[in-house]
């Protein structure tokens, strides 16, 4: 049981981080389907820097920076260029796939080495604590970071003035503009912050969950993060719970697979996606999305 819990947290961490990033972006009114590509870029950049520098931490930092860079691209086109957000997101995914794939081949010729990874957060007495130890301290720092960030994002959105402004921009860009809130700037900032989180989520994949980079290793996790935001009703707490749910589902998938219940392997592969679809289809009650979600805002509309 404890092992299941531990696996749940571990598997949920990248999803949680990416979903928190997407949450920030969506509460500001933008829908970023390029989160998948952002995550992938973070995974790649983190991996490269970690291998080159020998420090996993440096890799994480690089992943955050890489995420922010992709975010800057998205913001440039979707916020300032006012290009349709779905289109920009699709382009970002393609660019990331191509660039990371090409980069990986160019640098490692198809055989990437093992990277230094981030081990457990703390060993020794802290890790020995009965429940807390296994759940928090014996895990990689990404798990702990996820929880802290969930708390931070939740508090920031609900209780700080910048958070209030961000929500205003997402709910009614017109009202925010009329109050003097710089709508494009706030949206761009949200994209940058959210994308850096997604970059770190990518690092959680290449520097913790595995120790290597493979092309397309995000395998749709970014899209699952999108679903998590919807399922979590656009609240930090909801996102946290939804991430745990998906982490649990994936953990169960691996257990059943390992037990060899006689069900062929691809069925398990489908599992998280089918669960997501089912969840989205059955979610009762219309979710309260930020009212201006997905709409570009232009002031000159008299």
């Amino acid at each position: 049981m404890e092992a299941l819990l531990e696996a749940t947290l571990r598997l949920a961490a990248p999803l949680l981080l990416a979903a928190l990033g997407e949450l920030v972006i969506e509460r500001a009114g933008l829908i970023d389907i390029g989160i998948e590509g952002t995550m992938l870029t973070g995974a790649f950049a983190g991996f490269v820097v970690a291998v080159a520098s020998g420090s996993a931490l440096a890799g994480v930092a690089a992943a955050a920076v890489a995420g922010t860079t992709v975010g800057a691209l998205f913001a440039a086109f979707a916020v300032y260029g006012r290009v349709d957000q779905i289109v920009v997101g699709t382009a970002v995914n393609l660019l990331a796939l191509g660039a990371t794939g090409a980069g990986s081949r160019a640098l490692y010729g198809g055989a990437p080495p093992a990277a230094p990874t981030l081990g457990a957060l703390a060993s020794g007495p802290l890790a020995e604590l009965p429940w807390l130890g296994a759940l928090l301290f014996a895990q990689t720092p990404f798990v702990c970071a996820g929880w802290l960030l969930a708390l931070a994002v939740g508090v920031a959105l609900a209780r700080t003035r910048p958070g209030l402004r961000l929500r205003a921009v997402g709910d009614s860009a017109r009202a925010a503009d009329a109050e003097g809130v710089p709508v494009p700037r706030v949206r761009a900032a949200a994209v940058l912050i959210g994308s850096s989180l997604a970059g770190v989520a990518g690092a959680a994949l290449s520097l913790a969950q595995s120790d290597s980079f493979t092309e397309g290793m995000t395998a749709g996790r970014g899209f699952i993060a999108l679903a998590i935001v919807i399922f979590g009703r656009w609240s930090a707490l909801g996102v946290l719970l939804a991430s745990l749910f998906f982490g649990c589902a994936t953990a169960l998938q691996f257990r059943l697979q390992a037990r060899g219940v006689g069900i062929p392997y691809p069925v398990f592969l489908m599992f998280p996606y089918l669960v997501t679809l089912a969840v989205l289809a059955l979610a009762t009650g219309r979710a309260r999305a930020p009212a201006d979600l997905g709409r570009a805002y232009a002031r000159e509309a008299s």
Binding site: A168, E179, G180, A291
Partner: protein
């Protein structure tokens, strides 16, 4: 404000060399017809629009309009209350009041903000439920909240854009009282309107705009209703001709029509109404009392929960196609609800509603483009739609011309029943007059017209019979009732 000029489209100036002045402790009314440029001028003042030319002086200090913006407006003490609420619907009033405050700290303490909001409300004697979310409030409350927000920011100059459009007569009076209090407290108020009657109640001075230019500056003592009207319109409009016509058989009947509503107040309960051929029945009411629901039910896009609709004595299924086949046409002042598709051409919009069964344009699984273009050109000529290119995108049509297209399309085939909902919303005088004439023409030809409108004057001028829609129920209005009496009925007092 001095010599403000603004053009949105080159060679089509919205404002030309407009100058305006207002002093502390003064209420200035900015009058003009739809499209005269009033909103644009005020948007310049509020920092939402940058003019092509001109200058602005606030409290004796010149302002750099290039860097002005809404923030600049706020810093200089200009606050605006918009026609369409510019509050965040999902936020509470208290949250709306404080999110724009850049001076306060980064932490948002709901308790403290709530108390501050309540204090503000008490100080200016504007009653607003600060705890509730804006989307739950009535239009009157939203307006007061927006005024409160502006005042809370330290606005010394308050701009109100068509404030009474969404208010009951009682709420409007309360607003005027509040404005008088503000005037007494040394604030300056600019008040946009196109209704002469209100102006007399509260304005100290009046500036009149017509087609983007100032045509008059008058003070309170010089106000004369007819003179004002003439200045606004630039000409004397002859009153509409309404010939006495013998009413025909009942063409449209609503029996016990119940329709679920967006809010509790707008739910329709058991409506009974009859419209005879050759008559215009007007339905007045404040927006939000069920007009949307009634319109949507009669357009066939909202399913009623009970009752029936009869056209020419026969019960009709409430889908857009069935209604059209039965001879009921739907005209709306809102482009989307009028079924006009931006991005499609004039001709395509003209034939849009008939794609299933209109054999003139849709035959053997094909669209007859030539026939459509021909029909559209003819309609454009007959109704004066310009530009009249049948393949032109309707996005380039002005509001008035787009509405003419809608009229042309709906009246095509002389439908026995016409449901017109706010048909002149946002139109300039000329276009509005055109629409009114078309409605009267339908009446003269024996058609039945149901006119649902929030503009009392429009209904009084056109309708043979008037009913009031109050909280989802129809109340009859005695013939010859004046505006005050109708206002009382709309508030729920009197009438049956």
């Amino acid at each position: 404000m001095q010599e403000i000029s603004k053009s949105f489209v080159p060679a089509v100036p919205v404002l030309e060399g407009v100058s305006l002045e207002v002093a502390e402790g003064e209420v200035l009314a900015l009058l003009g017809e739809n499209g005269a440029g009033k909103s644009t001028l005020m948007n310049v003042l509020a920092g939402l629009v940058t003019p092509d030319a001109g200058g602005l002086e606030l409290a004796g200090e010149r302002v750099d309009l290039g860097r002005y913006g809404p923030r600049g407006a706020r810093d200089h003490g200009v606050g605006m209350v918009h026609q369409h609420s510019a509050l965040v619907p999902a936020f509470t009033v208290a949250e709306n009041l404080c999110f724009g405050d850049s001076a306060a700290g980064p932490w948002f303490r709901p308790g403290a903000e709530l108390r501050a909001a309540e204090a503000l409300s008490r100080r200016f004697e504007l009653e607003v439920p600060v705890r509730r979310r804006v989307e739950e409030l009535s239009p009157g409350q939203r307006q007061r909240a927006e005024i409160l927000r502006a005042l809370g920011r330290g606005a010394r100059l308050l701009i109100l854009d068509e404030p009474t459009a969404v208010l009951t007569p009682g709420e409007a009076n309360a607003l005027f009282a509040a404005l008088r209090r503000l005037r007494g407290a040394g604030r300056a108020v600019i008040f946009i309107s196109h209704k002469l009657a209100e102006v007399e109640q509260v304005a100290d001075r009046v500036t009149i705009l017509r087609r983007g230019r100032v045509v008059a500056n008058l003070s309170a003592g010089e106000l004369d209703a007819r003179e004002l009207g003439r200045l606004m319109l630039g000409r004397d409009l002859p009153p509409l001709e309404r010939r006495a016509a013998p009413p025909g058989p009942p063409r449209l009947a609503l029996r016990g029509l119940s329709v679920p509503g967006v809010t509790e107040r707008s739910r329709l309960c058991g409506l009974d109404l009859e419209v005879l051929g050759g008559e215009i029945v007007g339905v007045v009411g404040i927006d939000g009392n069920g007009q949307r629901e009634l319109e949507e039910a009669l357009a066939g896009v909202r399913r009623p929960s009970g009752g029936e609709v009869l056209v020419a004595g026969r019960r009709v299924a409430l889908s857009p196609r069935a209604l059209r086949r039965a001879g009921l046409a739907h005209l709306s002042g809102d482009r989307e609800r009028a079924g006009l598709v931006r991005g499609m051409s004039l001709a395509e919009n003209f034939i849009l509603k008939g794609s299933w069964d209109d054999r003139r344009f849709f035959r053997r699984g094909q669209i007859d483009r030539r026939a459509a273009a021909l029909a559209a050109s003819r309609a454009a000529a007959r109704f004066g739609i310009s530009p009249s290119d049948p393949d032109g995108d309707i996005a380039s049509l002005s509001g008035g011309n787009a509405q003419k297209l809608a009229v042309a399309r709906e009246l095509d085939g002389d439908p026995p029943v016409l449901v017109a909902v706010n048909p002149t919303r946002g139109l300039d005088v000329g276009s509005a007059r055109f629409v009114h004439e078309q409605l009267l023409a339908r009446r003269a030809a024996g058609g039945a017209v149901l006119l649902i409108s929030v503009e009392l004057d429009e209904v009084l001028a056109l309708a043979d019979r008037v009913v009031a829609l109050v909280r989802g129920e129809l109340r009859s209005v005695p013939p010859g009732a004046d505006r005050a009496a109708i206002g009382a009925i709309l508030l729920g007092e009197g009438g049956a």
